[in-house]
Amino acid sequence: MPDLLTVSGLTLAYPGGTRALDGVDLRLGEGEFLSLVGPSGCGKSTLLRIIAGLLAPTSGTLSWGRRPGRGGIGFVFQEPTLMPWARVAANVRLPLDLAGVPQAEADARVAEQLARVGLFEFESAFPRELSGGMRMRVALARALVTKPALLLLDEPFAALDEITRFKLNDDLLALWRAEGFTAVFVTHSVFESVYLSSRVAIMSARPGRVVADIPIPLAHPRTAALRTQADYGALCRDVSAALARAMGQEAA
């Protein structure tokens, strides 16, 4: 698996001197599904923003195998972050509009992407008319409409109920398998990270650092039945133990 991105020695210090990240090393293979797990405040979101180019690190480097161009990175926030004044289709079309993609082509791609997240018949609804899970699907469609090489997700399902979250987990996995993007998924749920990922990176509490890197060799397709399987349970135990060690290090 060729590397898409290698992060080395990444540090982010705020003007007051507090360090959010302290020497993060991480490599990201093309087509991987990597979850970042860590206690709250460990800088997971900060790391994601640096990768997206929304934040500049104090020191350290990001070296890209193939640098994604405009629209090459999709981002899904913790909230759906839709434009309330725009209909669903216009929300999904935003990245294409900003890039000046011709109207007809943009419309076709929006229709295709909405069909993939199962919201085709809601294209002319306004965000407030949708449920929380549906809004998150719109956000997913918007992030994927540019066919990004890298999709960054910042605890996207944390605010949803468990039934909706499980459904969206399956949908996200199906999209990942169908479209072949690389995903970095920030979560504080061990179970969610193991279910989704091909690899889980554990971060220590602030200042954040990657302290463990656990491959998840579970086969695809993964379904609800996996959640009760022994190998899934064993991996969850491993990740939990690594997380506990990461937090213990902090306390010592």
Binding site: A52, P84, W85, A99, F126, P127, R128
Partner: protein, 262 residues
């Protein structure tokens, strides 16, 4: 539903009719002199017989009010957007906008009228009405532009949006509910500004509704004074209703403030 809506419309009308009826009866029963409080019937008569003069005055006041209001909206929104582009500019100019706002219009009116000149008094009225109407638009738009969802702002950055795209596709629509709320306040203030300025100008150089009120008061033609007052109130209500309608049309389905209202 429909019955409820009709009732809601009828109740205030019925109340108004009752008050007018009592007014008419009370003035006659207690023999109140007409120069203190004329009965509604003689106000209606004055409205009909002096219609030409009153209509001309109403038209003048309306024109000045609407011009001032439109100028206020355009300049207020434009300046707020300029402020949003440059913190330095905002820091430099905002205090002066506040000074303009907190200085009572009555106090600066004579100066403005002298500068512009009595021969162009309508222009002076326009300027004064604009000064009053301008600030709510500026402050509300500034507030609205600052209320942009920071994650949406990041999203626009991620997709390499140009400054113009950020202004028109993100900042302006985010601020729209605030701008419309400011417009409702400003529409009423433009009318007040036009009237107050005319009161200060006085002495028949301007001939809007405010002058009709001064003139009628001086001549103790109280029914006509009431007729002019009635027209002023009607103008104010009309402006408010029009702006509420615009607000409903523009925010309709997407903004919490308008969703689910009858």
């Amino acid at each position: 539903m429909v019955a409820g809506r009709i009732a809601r419309a009828l109740v205030p009308l019925a109340l108004g009719a009752a008050v007018l009826g009592f007014w008419e009866w009370a003035v006659r029963a207690w023999e109140v002199p007409p120069f203190v409080l004329p009965p509604p019937s003689s106000i209606a008569t004055a409205l009909a017989s002096d219609w030409r003069i009153l209509a001309d005055s109403t038209w003048l006041t309306l024109t000045i009010t609407l011009q001032a209001f439109c100028l206020a909206v355009v300049s207020g929104v434009a300046l707020a957007m300029l402020f949003a582009q440059s913190r330095l500019l905002a820091a430099a100019l905002y205090p002066y906008a506040v000074v303009l706002q907190v200085t009572p219009i009555v106090a600066i009116a004579p100066l403005v009228i002298i500068w512009v000149g009595y021969e162009r008094v309508n222009l002076a009225l326009l300027i004064l009405a604009w000064v009053v109407a301008f600030f709510p638009i500026l402050s509300n738009t500034t507030l609205g532009l600052a209320a942009v969802d920071p994650n949406l702002r990041d999203l626009f950055r991620l997709y390499g949006a140009s400054r113009w795209q950020v202004v028109w596709r993100l900042q302006f629509p985010s601020a729209l509910p605030y701008i419309l709320a400011g417009m409702k306040v400003s529409g009423g203030l433009a009318l007040i500004g036009a009237v107050v300025a005319e009161f200060v100008a006085g002495s028949g150089t301007a001939s809007g509704l405010a002058w009709r009120i001064i003139e009628s008061g001086n001549r103790l033609n109280i029914p006509r004074l009431f007729a002019a007052l009635f027209l002023l109130a009607a103008l104010g209500v009309m402006i408010f209703a029009l702006l509420s309608w615009v607000q409903k049309r523009l925010l309709g389905r997407w903004h919490e403030s308008e969703v689910g209202r009858p």
